[in-house]
């Protein structure tokens, strides 16, 4: 599964000066499509928190963070701040997925579809893996059932490869499962 948004750990600090030999080192975990964008985002956020800019700071490390257990299902809670047409708002959203990157990607696509918010207007404040008891949204809680059972109601008939696709079919497809 290739994800558009990758998680990076970015570590940086201000440049050492005569007054401050060992400036404080700051570390951020953030999502970006590539490393270059991650570094840029890091300076953007750090500028808002501390009096340091890219011109008088240095990047110490940037590593991509990969999912530890991509074969288990987790409930992710994501706190975000986004800019709508009228102002800034905070939001808390829940997603069920196997990886955090997958949950974040679901969040970006959902915000774009439900609220027409583009990804550069979204800031992820915090993410957490939520145990099933503490989930707040009904849409995630409905899958917390060890004996889950439902039928697939509508069968989409499609050829097994794009090559075998044809515009006209001889007979109507059978859509019953």
């Amino acid at each position: 599964m290739s994800y558009k948004f990758h998680q990076f750990q970015v570590v940086g600090r201000g440049l050492p000066t005569e007054s401050d030999e060992h400036p404080k080192i700051y570390r951020m975990k953030l999502w970006a499509t590539n490393e270059v964008r991650a570094k840029s985002k890091f300076w953007y956020f750090l500028r808002k928190l501390k009096k340091v800019k890219k011109s008088n700071g240095q990047m110490l490390a940037i590593n991509e963070i990969f999912e530890k257990n991509p074969t288990t299902i987790k409930n992710y809670g994501i706190w975000l701040r986004y800019q709508s047409r009228t102002g800034y708002h905070n939001m808390y959203k829940e997603y069920r997925d196997t990886t955090l990157n997958g949950g974040i990607e679901q969040m970006y696509t959902e915000m774009a579809s439900r609220h027409r918010v583009r990804h550069h207007c979204i800031q992820v404040i915090k993410t957490a893996t939520i145990p099933a008891k503490l989930c707040k949204r009904e849409s995630t809680k409905q899958f917390h059932n060890s004996k889950i059972k439902f039928p697939l109601v509508f069968k989409k008939v499609r050829p097994p490869t794009r090559k075998l696709k044809t515009t006209y079919k001889a007979s109507r497809p059978n859509l019953f499962v």
């Binding site: 599964m1 991509p70 074969t71 288990t72 299902i73 069920r96 997925d97 196997t98 995630t140 899958f143 060890s146 004996k147 889950i148 059972k149 439902f150 039928p151 697939l152 109601v153 069968k155 989409k156 499609r158 097994p160 490869t161 019953f176 499962v177």
Partner: protein
């Protein structure tokens, strides 16, 4: 016409699109409305969209997300391989695969066998016609 095949833990499904096309996999957990966690003895446990799966009649007894050993044991206990290969759906797929892998000599042999079979059928038919006539 109620539903007979359900998405549930232990349902065996056939992959009908993508890299794992034609494989039998077991639904091991449900992620959300569109995706399931799916496992098979020869692949890493991963997620798959229901659009890529066709449910079969076969179901095995497992708990949610078993480890690989338990899954393989449950597949043996449920006799999935034999049930699949003896079902009409499974047999059809085996025949399709065999036909696709024939070489010219095999096709020649099949042509001779078909002619022979047609000859025997026609003899029997002629015998029956003579008896009734």
């Amino acid at each position: 016409m109620p539903f007979k095949r359900y998405v549930e833990v232990g349902r065996v499904a056939l992959v009908n699109y993508g890299k794992d096309y034609g494989k039998l996999v077991v639904i091991v957990d449900v992620i959300d409305q569109n995706r399931a966690l799916v496992d098979a003895p020869d692949m890493v446990r991963g997620q798959m969209n229901f659009k890529r799966l066709t449910l079969t009649d076969i179901k095995i007894e497992i708990k949610r997300v078993p480890n690989k050993k338990t899954l393989i044991a449950a597949l043996e206990a449920g006799d999935v391989k034999n049930k699949w290969e003896n079902s009409s759906w499974g047999r059809k797929l085996i025949v399709q695969k065999k036909r696709a892998s024939l070489n010219d000599f095999d096709r020649f042999k099949i042509m001779l066998a078909k002619i022979k079979k047609a000859g025997v059928v026609r003899q029997e038919l002629a015998k029956l016609k003579k008896e009734t006539a």
